[in-house]
């Protein structure tokens, strides 16, 4: 059944329907109950589910993440919400030292999800716009997902909730209401660890996620008018990375451009570039390049943030330069 939802509506729907299906799923976060959440993802949830399942927490991210971990250890499936991904740093210790390591040390699953509204383009400034996924790429025991479309957002959330491991679910704030698309009704899973080729092509592979997918698709359309066909690989999952899809694409086109909104140094792109160098060296007709934000905090004022963020034009230009190599 084809109907369109926004990215944020898809997340709400996935959350709501999974909570209906599985009574062990509960929510914990700041202002998510009566207030419906800072972004209104959980509007109406308190009415439908009890206060025991939609918990308005104290303002303490360490306690939120820790409590979610404990509840997961005790057999429930908590979905914790950070009001902004930026505040995950207050719960960093809980995630990297407790949630991530628990199963390896003690063989007990930690089936928890942490929802993290991330990303810029909303004039949020340095503490409301960050893309911190790379901090966690380096922590064994976590899974990390970052959907770019409403359909993927819903399916990945369902998969994340059902996964017996701690999953960091990065939802892009700008895409909340700017991304619209077809979303199937009912519950379905988008597998974690599988990328999606959103556009096939033969001349250049653009590997990206989140807002980058939309920039890449638009740039690819423009380039197609000049006879250039780009392949756009939407990672969807950052841990585990879908190496197979990445390498298959790069081996086909011989040119790889990695695009992400997060700062360039030590970002997800660096890991992917290493994977490509090792796995597709002989198929490369050009060096692997990355387009990402510069190594600065996210600035507040519009011209500064514009200069900071990648966009369609920058992606197109980077693609053209790579094609000219």
């Amino acid at each position: 059944m084809a109907r369109e939802l926004t990215y944020i509506e898809a997340i709400s729907e996935g959350l709501r329907e999974e909570m209906r299906r599985d009574p062990t799923v509960f929510l914990i976060g700041e202002d998510i109950g009566e207030f419906g959440g800072a972004f209104k993802v959980t509007r109406g949830f308190l009415e439908e589910f009890s206060a025991e399942r939609v918990i308005d927490s104290v303002l303490a991210e360490g306690a939120i993440i820790g409590a979610a971990t404990g509840a997961a250890l005790a057999g429930l499936r908590p979905v914790a919400e950070m009001q902004f991904a930026d505040f995950i740093s207050n719960g960093f210790n809980q995630i990297v030292n407790i949630s991530a390591k628990y199963h390896y040390r003690n063989f007990v699953p930690v089936p928890m999800v942490v929802r993290l509204p991330s990303g810029g383009g909303i004039r949020g400034g340095p503490f409301h716009s960050v893309n911190p996924e790379a901090w966690f790429l380096h922590v064994p025991g976590l899974k990390i997902v970052a959907p770019s479309t409403p359909a993927d957002a819903k399916g990945l959330l369902v998969s994340a909730i059902r996964d017996p491991n701690p999953v960091l679910y990065f939802e892009h704030k700008f895409l909340y209401r700017h991304s619209r698309g077809e979303v199937a009704e009912g519950l379905y899973e988008v597998p974690i660890g599988k990328a999606d080729v959103k556009r096939t092509g033969t001349d250049l592979t653009i590997i990206t996620y989140h807002a980058g997918v939309h920039w890449a698709l638009e740039a690819a359309s423009a380039l197609a008018e000049h006879g250039i066909e780009c392949e756009v690989v939407d990672l969807r999952s950052l841990v585990p990375l879908d190496r197979e899809t990445i390498l298959l694409s790069v081996r086909k086109t011989g040119r790889a451009l990695i695009v992400h909104e997060a700062n360039i140094t030590g970002g997800v792109g660096a890991e992917i570039a290493a994977i490509i160098a090792a796995g597709a060296f002989e198929h490369l007709d050009a060096p692997v390049r990355r387009l990402a934000a510069p190594d600065t905090p996210v600035p507040y004022a519009a011209p500064l943030e514009e200069a900071f963020l990648p966009n369609v034009a920058k992606v197109r230009e980077a693609a053209e330069r790579l094609l000219a190599y």
Binding site: G62, T69, A71
Partner: protein, 310 residues
């Protein structure tokens, strides 16, 4: 109760000896002086209640039903141990017994324990969650966050601060300004009580009250159990910084000796029975040590397994 206290002491004696012989590597932590707190508190719990024991609460494991063999294998890092060698110092989880494994960042466990308490309430189980922290560990921010959450949400949660006078080499005078750590409870609006941590029956009584309170849905309790760390922070620490006089004074209040006197006074324990019991337990622990030393480690090939749950 006495039996468990003796077991705790004998087990740690053996562990210390193995450490000194190089047969146990890493760190050997002693709970000497903490036996009453560990055993008395655990005794107040029911079989389904949850506990997060620290490294000086060995006795609590046994009270909750853990076997000596399993603990020995775990301490010696063997494949048959409860963590298969992936973590040491009693950092294991045995949900059937209600035992949850700490990490070395002890203060960080407090919110996790809150989560276990929360889960119990969501599941409508009438169980409580007990966790411990030290006089030093209590300075960690996550402890505060956990207490804030537990008190705001009225969770069936108990925190025992084991005030054994020293956090490694830092005496309590350099750690906090209040006279009693239980004073902090007022800041959270919950009951706080200080108890003589060398008196196992007192500890039991206070904990029992807290457990009942939690089970009845009346919320969390903060307990300060005052005792002394009779050994160094770990076997590698001679604790030269502790004034000899202080140690001498606390020796008079040794939890085992105190309880022995109590039991003997009431004719429950005779000197010969005491000797027999001690010998019996010692033999048991020695036998388990012997057994565990002969057991294999997990193979190196296993190192990458188990990062994720399937």
């Amino acid at each position: 109760m006495y039996r468990y206290m003796v077991l705790m002491r004998e087990f740690e004696n053996v562990i210390l000896r193995l450490y000194q012989q190089g047969k146990m590597i890493g760190g050997a932590y002693s709970g000497r002086g903490n036996e009453a707190t560990a055993v008395g508190s655990a005794f107040a719990l029911g079989a389904s209640d949850a506990i997060f024991p620290m490294h000086r609460d060995l006795g609590a494991h046994f009270v909750k039903g853990q076997s000596v063999r399993a603990m020995m294998l775990t301490y010696l890092g063997r494949a048959g141990g409860l963590t298969r060698g992936r973590d040491g110092t009693g950092h294991y989880t045995d949900r059937a017994l209600g035992i949850y494994g700490n990490i070395s960042h002890l203060g960080a466990m407090v919110p996790v324990a809150c989560g276990v308490a929360l889960a119990a309430r969501i599941k409508k189980e009438k169980t409580v969650t007990l966790t411990y922290i030290g006089d030093g560990g209590a300075s960690i921010g996550e402890v505060h966050e956990g207490l804030i959450m537990a008190s705001a949400m009225n969770l069936p949660f108990i925190l025992i601060i084991e005030n054994n006078q020293y956090a490694y080499s830092t005496p309590i005078g350099r750690q906090f300004r209040v006279s009693h750590l239980s004073d902090r409870a007022a800041g959270y609006g919950i009951p706080g009580v200080t108890v003589d941590g060398t008196d196992v029956l007192e500890v039991y009584r206070v904990c029992r009250e807290a457990v009942d309170r939690g089970r009845e849905g009346k919320g969390p309790t903060l307990i300060e159990s005052v005792t002394m760390r009779m050994s160094g922070h770990a076997a590698h620490d001679t604790a030269w910084y502790v004034p000899k006089a202080e140690l001498k004074a606390w020796e008079k209040k040794d939890p085992l000796a105190t309880f022995e006197r109590y039991l003997q006074d009431r004719g429950v324990l005779t000197p010969s029975a005491r000797k027999t019991l001690a010998a019996e337990i010692r033999a048991q622990v020695e036998a388990e040590a012997e057994y565990a030393l002969g057991q294999p480690y997990a193979p190196g090939e296993e190192v990458e397994q188990g990062v994720y749950a399937e």
